[in-house]
């Protein structure tokens, strides 16, 4: 029952409204995704201009968040959606918030890039950063795709990926902690990397949240605050 038939309302305007919400959200997702790539690349290739671009885009994302929220409110007020439509609007509102937070985190990484460019590159951590960045970026893409296709299986995968990112993040922490002990002079710069990693890890969490909203949207199941195993069980059960 992955089919939500959003375009089958008697009211064509309602179809259009919901489609508009979806499109706006995915566009915003595209912006945030680009922010993440750019922010990570800004650090790894020491590109301050790219980092500045991320900061500029962040304003755009903030504006879009507000607009999308207004549109959600409008649909709620005018259409009083029920069932899947209601879940759709709620999910869009929640995903919207998560995307905006992801944008904020990407902004943090971009600021770190600028900081590192001003104070000299960090000796270590770039590999981890690239690796985790790539993982997180994958997650974001998967989460947005699962929303675009109302694909629950893909959403569950995102939750799995989040676990992986968490592990990678922990091992990266341990490794960077060793560097700092070895070379105390590099502490402040390595810390910048750590904060960036932390931001990427948060982005992963938000992507996982998006996946949970998608599961709520499609299945009507609230799968927050439970283990991935439990989540999988509930999703499979509801089929």
């Amino acid at each position: 029952m992955d089919n939500l038939n959003l375009d089958q309302h008697i009211s064509r305007q309602f179809n259009a409204d919901l489609e508009e919400l979806k499109t706006q959200l995915l566009e915003m997702g595209g912006l945030v995704e680009q922010q993440i790539i750019d922010a990570v690349t800004a650090i790894t290739s020491a590109d301050s201009d790219l980092a500045e671009k991320v900061l500029v885009v962040e304003d755009e994302v903030d504006n879009r968040e507000v607009t999308l929220d207004e549109n959600c409110t409008m649909v709620l007020a005018r259409r009083q959606p029920a069932a899947s439509d209601l879940r759709m609007v709620l999910a869009v509102a929640k995903i919207n918030r998560d995307l905006e937070r992801m944008g904020d985190e990407a902004q943090k990484v971009a600021k770190m890039a600028i900081h590192l460019n001003e104070h000299g590159e960090a000796p270590r951590g770039y590999v981890e950063l690239r690796h985790i960045g790539s993982l997180v970026h994958q997650m974001v893409i998967m989460a947005l795709d699962s929303f675009a296709r109302f694909d629950v299986d893909l959403a569950v995968k995102v939750a799995h990926e989040d676990k992986k990112v968490d592990q990678e993040y922990k091992s990266a922490m341990r490794e960077l902690a060793t560097y700092m002990m070895e070379d105390p002079r590099s502490i402040s710069r390595v810390l910048n990397i750590i904060w960036s990693l932390r931001a990427l890890e948060r982005i992963g969490d938000h992507a996982a949240n998006i996946a949970e909203h998608v599961i709520y949207l499609v299945k009507g199941l609230d799968v927050r605050h439970i283990s991935v195993k439990e989540m999988e069980r509930q999703v499979n059960e509801s089929d």
């Binding site: 029952m1 992955d2 089919n3 939500l4 038939n5 959003l6 375009d7 089958q8 309302h9 008697i10 009211s11 309602f14 489609e19 979806k22 499109t23 995915l26 566009e27 997702g29 595209g30 912006l31 995704e33 680009q34 790539i37 990570v40 690349t41 790894t44 290739s45 009083q80 959606p81 029920a82 069932a83 899947s84 439509d85 209601l86 879940r87 770039y126 590999v127 690239r130 690796h131 960045g133 790539s134 970026h137 994958q138 974001v140 893409i141 947005l144 795709d145 929303f147 675009a148 296709r149 109302f150 694909d151 299945k219 009507g220 199941l221």
Partner: protein
């Protein structure tokens, strides 16, 4: 830069509008979507006031209701929704045998109010209707005074022997219907002179004056403005403390607002019965979903 490579390779696919096409991949829900043999959800409750099993209704040769089984719990508000002609009103009218007045209408199945078989030939329908009251779509006060409207039921059933008893019944009924304050100074002016909403509350007062156990409401607000509707809905919530209420409504928002459980009817069959919250956030059956989200109706 080799490590950055995978990042760039991944396309920003999520912003592609092509993703939206996925919605159309599977076929939609329409009137021909098969209705499940057994209703999904939980049609039965632990403490039923009315127990209805395999109810079938025929108009002549045409079958209007196909084997509906359902419980109405004590002091609950059960709303019945569904597209026009789905049999919800017909079903409701079986519950106090209003269908008897239609010559060609036949009812089969087992219908019980507590232990009483509704279609027991020995049961006098007058007695049944005193236990199962009904409020109709259009406010239909008698062309008599407000007092006489409310007093009519108690009078014909001999519920009050003295004038003072009758006065009391009238007052409490009007109070319960939230109409007392508005009409206490003009009890003897005609009931038809009230506004639509007041008339409908008068009809509710008239119904509860007989102290029924179950109140059936057949689209009680369809002829009223939103304010009057809100008042009736408020009243339904209050009445559910003392009465069991079954309400047929065309307004899904109304069903969502007033009822504890919602039953969705489709083409004379029961598709889904569930807690109202469940039905309106995540219905179990796609027909229900399609109906309440306005895919067809």
């Amino acid at each position: 830069m080799d490590i950055a490579q995978p990042l760039d390779k991944i396309p920003a696919s999520s912003s592609e509008p092509a993703a939206g096409k996925a919605i159309n991949v599977k076929e939609g829900v329409d009137q021909d979507t098969p209705v499940p043999a057994k209703p999904v959800g939980n049609p039965f409750v632990d403490d039923p006031k009315m127990k209805l099993r395999d109810v079938e209704v025929f108009y002549g040769d045409e079958q209007a209701i196909h084997g509906i089984s359902l419980d109405i719990g004590k002091n609950e508000v059960l709303s019945m929704i569904g597209p026009s002609g789905c049999g919800k009103s017909t079903f409701l009218r079986c519950l106090n045998r209003m269908n008897d007045t239609i010559d060609i209408c036949r009812v089969k199945g087992s219908l019980h109010l507590e232990d009483q078989d509704l279609y027991d030939p020995k049961l006098d329908v007058v007695e049944l209707r005193a236990r199962v009251g009904m409020v109709f779509q259009k406010p239909n006060p008698f062309p008599k005074s407000i007092y006489d409207n409310v007093a009519y039921g108690p009078r014909i059933h001999g519920l009050a022997n003295r004038r003072s008893d009758l006065d009391e019944i009238v007052e409490t009924s009007l109070q319960k219907a939230g109409l007392w304050k508005e009409v206490k100074d003009r009890l003897h002016s005609p009931g038809t002179g009230l506004s639509g909403g007041q008339q409908q509350r008068l009809c509710i007062a008239r119904t509860i004056a007989v102290s029924p156990e179950v109140i059936l409401m057949d689209e009680p607000c369809s002829a009223l403005d939103p304010i009057a509707t809100a008042k009736i809905e408020e009243l339904i919530a209050e009445l559910s403390e003392n009465f069991t209420i079954a309400i047929v409504t065309h307004s899904m928002q109304q069903a969502a607002r007033v009822s504890n459980r919602t039953a969705y009817f489709h083409l004379g069959k029961l598709v889904e019965v569930n807690d109202t919250e469940k039905v309106f956030t995540n219905p179990d059956h796609k027909l229900t979903e399609a109906y309440i989200t306005g895919r067809f109706g």
